[in-house]
């Protein structure tokens, strides 16, 4: 039997590259487009599945599709989503940040201490701003430390951030004397903070704004391109004279900063500064990044993928809970999803 082939994509005249973005007739372009949309297809699949599996309300309407439920999902994924967005950059440089959960705990602790123990004559807005800025600064400082050690001492990121994961957890516990700091139960400034920050629009808005900003930074800025370049091949980056150390310090600093932000939101939602918060959040964030198609080897990945990965995990949790599935079973299902997602990605790569 004879197989017929379509011709290879037409080669243009030397030196004259078509400047158009991938068009429908361009086979390679079509494949790339499909690849880009792959995560989106998976998201649509899981939404359809969720609609089918969702229990019905008394009036026959689909509980999953209720506006309240959908925004709940977004709110629930916001904290890990914000962490995952920054984690994407770290992983794109072929690094990893295990310290994000501890940094989140530090963030909750610092913002709670700032609100309850610092008496500065600034008024509510000033005091809240100060507490938030302190938490963000603490997170960024942890990240900058990670980045400086990774870039300067050439110790593997896994080891560096494993160390800070332990150390920063200790710092958070030491600052709070290993006790939760309740906030927002009275009529004080902390209550104003908790009420404002924990509003759905603020929480979801934070995730969306961060995702949009990081997406743009990755796609259109020099820094974003350097991030991918360093992860694609650090040796080539060095031979090209790229500022590798600066890029690394920045990605870890951003990871710390967003972990601090996640901590602020966590504190507001849970009404406490909790030095034990965020345990294993690094793994949730990494899972979201990986499901979104970003390679742990660096160089390849996207913020949009991470957002999709975060949503897939969130929707999955939601629909399982709507059906009263045991939370232990939920973890097992998640495990399968992570493996499936990565298996699909890597199969595509080897083809």
């Amino acid at each position: 039997m004879k197989t017929r082939y379509s011709e290879r994509p037409p080669l243009e005249a030397p030196g004259r590259l078509s400047t158009a973005r991938s068009t429908g007739t361009d086979r390679a372009g079509a494949i790339r487009l499909l690849y880009r949309l792959q995560a989106l297809v998976a998201l649509l699949g899981i939404i359809v599945l969720a609609i089918i599996l969702s229990p019905r309300a008394a009036d026959g309407s689909n509980i999953f599709l209720e506006a309240g439920n959908l925004t709940d999902i977004l709110r629930q994924v916001s904290v890990t989503g914000i962490i995952a967005v920054a984690m994407t950059f770290v992983i794109l440089t072929a690094g990893i940040d295990l310290s994000v959960g501890s940094t989140l705990a530090l963030g909750t602790s610092v913002v709670a201490i700032g609100l309850t123990r610092w008496s500065v004559p600034l008024g509510d807005v000033g005091r809240i701003s100060l507490a938030i800025i302190a938490a963000l600064a603490a997170g960024a400082a942890v990240g900058a430390l990670n980045g400086a050690v990774v870039a300067g001492a050439s110790i593997q990121p896994f080891v560096v951030t494993l160390a800070t994961m332990i150390g920063v957890r200790g710092l958070a516990k030491w600052l709070t004397d290993n006790a939760n700091i309740d906030i927002g139960f009275g009529q004080d400034v902390a209550a104003v903070f908790a009420a404002f920050i924990s509003r759905k629009v603020v929480v979801i808005g934070s995730l969306l704004v961060m995702a949009a900003v990081f997406w743009l930074v990755l796609d259109v800025t020099v820094f974003g391109r350097y991030v991918r370049a360093v992860g694609d091949n650090e040796r080539v980056a060095r031979y090209t004279g790229l500022p590798i150390a600066r890029v690394k310090i920045w990605v870890y600093t951003l990871s710390g900063l967003l972990s601090g932000l996640a901590g602020v939101i966590y504190a507001a939602e849970n009404h406490q500064g909790n030095p034990n918060a965020g345990v294993a959040y690094e793994l949730d964030a990494i899972a979201a990044v990986v499901i979104g198609g970003t390679s742990l080897m660096g160089g390849k990945g996207s913020v949009s993928g991470t957002v999709v990965g975060t949503l897939i995990l969130g929707i999955l949790t939601n629909v399982l809970r709507l059906n009263n599935v045991d939370s232990n079973v939920e973890m097992m299902v998640k495990a399968v999803i992570i493996l499936l997602a990565v298996a699909v990605m890597s199969r595509r790569k080897s083809e």
Partner: protein
């Protein structure tokens, strides 16, 4: 020929991402012959070799081994049949010893739970002898030069009782003397009844050691010839589908002002190298592998600590302590290994081309794609790059086009001095000619170019002068009629007083 057939592949078809790499290729190897598989880049020769060795699975096609149809779906299947492949980028374990590398994956040995080193040494020694490898079996592989590693890879194939050994571009990273040693080994294998398939570009070598030549073009078999019944011109025509003529290269004049002045440059591996490079000059660097050619580049590009030496650019002394410092001083380097050192393989043509000068095309940190594209297209007018779009990953391009992207990256930067480390390694004839022209166009605009190559004809064709290195030292700089293959080899091997007027030896 009257010899019996060992392997036959029929109508092999393989597609990658919808692009056909092989469109029904046929290939047959006789017992005890050395068979060349040739073709331009992208012709499918490596793919065919990989399929026969079980490293890649064909979409369809039949393979017969000793007359029986076989299914080779993994390297293990191939090993059981006695088929071994030696990849261009040798698939050895750098941190294991020679003996461990030879033994690993050997089914006969894997049955044992424990390994006795002495036994292992004794067991692998005959194979090392057979290929003429002199290193101790206990040597860790990473400490060996690449030519020795290749011998280890062949020894491993022998240890697996290989009857057919496929070698993918085995000479592309070897110096001339190592090539000689490899050929001696290949001849010994042939005498022992082993068939060798030699995938290569280098027709000269093929005509020296191969009995038969099969030409592939665009994934199809064009024909098979015995070496006696054909010549290089016919093979080139079969490869290209048209007769190819040598394009003459117009060497432009060189200005008299010195652009780069290097004196007493010394690192761990080179000693007291001094030379001047003038504006607009293409200075060739010849020498055997290990003579310090790449090391010279590493030293000039800030990858090595200098023990001693001064570098001046435009008369100003410069301190080059890192690639960044080198780039700032006006030195660019196109490294030897484009995949590991030169290009970001997952990134696009555009991204790679502009990588070194990206800040030029930004405002407020945001990349101006239009500006970037205009600059890139201008430079690729000169390199004659062929790519479907600026947004395809460079990994999808052929070797020659990848090399053009790498060259473009440095041309965009316009460094004062550009060090090219074997820029035409493993690429086809047409792309080579494009690259020579691009180099000369850059030189004519005033860039100083240092051109390292293992291929002497290329250096003789392209360079104004040729510096020959021998054991880390500058053995002499040849100019004009002085520069011939013979005079270069004489200096490179330190075998003869090559330069007239420099022969200080007593008669």
């Amino acid at each position: 020929m009257t010899t019996t057939e060992l392997l036959r592949a029929e109508s092999v078809i393989k597609r990658y991402d919808g692009v056909a790499a092989l469109r029904g290729a046929n290939f047959s190897v006789a017992n005890g012959e050395v068979h060349a598989l040739v073709g331009e880049n992208g012709a499918g020769k490596s793919t065919l070799a990989r399929i026969i060795a079980g490293a890649t699975r064909a979409d369809s096609g039949r393979i017969f081994f000793e007359g029986n149809e076989v299914s080779i779906s993994s390297p293990l299947d191939a090993q059981r049949l006695g088929i071994a492949i030696i990849f261009q980028e040798l698939d050895l374990f750098p941190h294991l010893t020679i003996a461990e590398n030879i033994a690993i994956g050997n089914l006969k040995l894997e049955r044992q739970a424990f390994v006795r080193r002495r036994e292992l040494d004794l067991w692998c020694q005959p194979f090392l002898d057979q290929v003429g490898a002199l290193d101790s079996p206990r040597t860790v592989l990473a400490n060996l030069p690449i030519a020795h590693m290749q011998l280890v890879a062949i020894a491993r194939a022998l240890s697996l009782d290989a009857r057919l050994i496929l070698m993918d571009e085995p000479t592309s990273s070897l110096s001339d003397d190592a090539v000689e040693r490899l050929f001696a080994t290949v001849n010994r294998l042939k005498q022992g009844g082993v068939s060798v398939v030699f995938v290569s570009h280098r027709l000269k070598e093929i005509f020296r050691i191969c009995d038969t030549i099969t030409v592939l073009r665009d994934g199809s078999t064009i024909g098979t010839k015995t070496t006696q019944s054909t010549d290089a011109n016919e093979i080139v025509t079969m490869m290209a589908g048209r007769p190819l003529k040598d394009r003459p290269i117009a060497k432009r004049g060189v200005s008299s002002d010195v652009l780069l002045s290097v004196s007493q440059l010394t690192t761990g591996r080179i000693q007291n190298i001094s030379f001047d490079l003038r504006r607009g000059e293409v200075l060739g660097v010849a020498g055997l592998v290990g003579a310090g050619r790449s090391e010279l580049g590493a030293a000039l590009f800030g990858l090595r600590r200098l023990v001693r030496g001064r570098v001046q650019i435009n008369g100003q002394p410069v301190e080059i302590s890192s690639p960044r410092a080198a780039i700032e001083a006006g030195v660019g380097m196109l490294p030897e290994d484009r995949k590991l050192q030169g290009l970001m393989m997952q990134m696009t043509v555009l991204e790679n081309s502009s990588m070194a000068v990206l800040p030029r095309y930004q405002s407020w940190g945001i990349i101006r794609r239009k500006k970037e594209l205009v600059a890139m297209e201008a430079v690729h007018q000169r390199t004659a790059l062929k790519a479907a779009s600026p947004d395809v990953p460079v990994s999808t391009l052929s070797g020659g086009n990848q090399q053009k992207v790498l060259l473009a990256k440095w041309l965009l930067m316009e460094p004062a001095v550009l060090f090219l480390d074997d820029p035409t390694r493993g690429i086809d004839v047409a792309a080579k000619a494009d690259i020579y022209e691009t180099i000369h166009a850059a030189a004519s605009r005033g860039m100083g170019i240092i051109f390292v190559s293992s291929e002497l004809p290329e250096l003789l064709q392209c360079c104004h002068r040729i510096m020959v290195l021998h054991e880390g030292r500058n053995a002499g700089i040849l100019e004009g009629a002085q520069a011939t293959q013979e005079s270069i080899m004489a200096l490179a091997t330190a075998t003869a007083p090559a330069l007239s007027g420099q022969s200080g030896l007593p008669a």
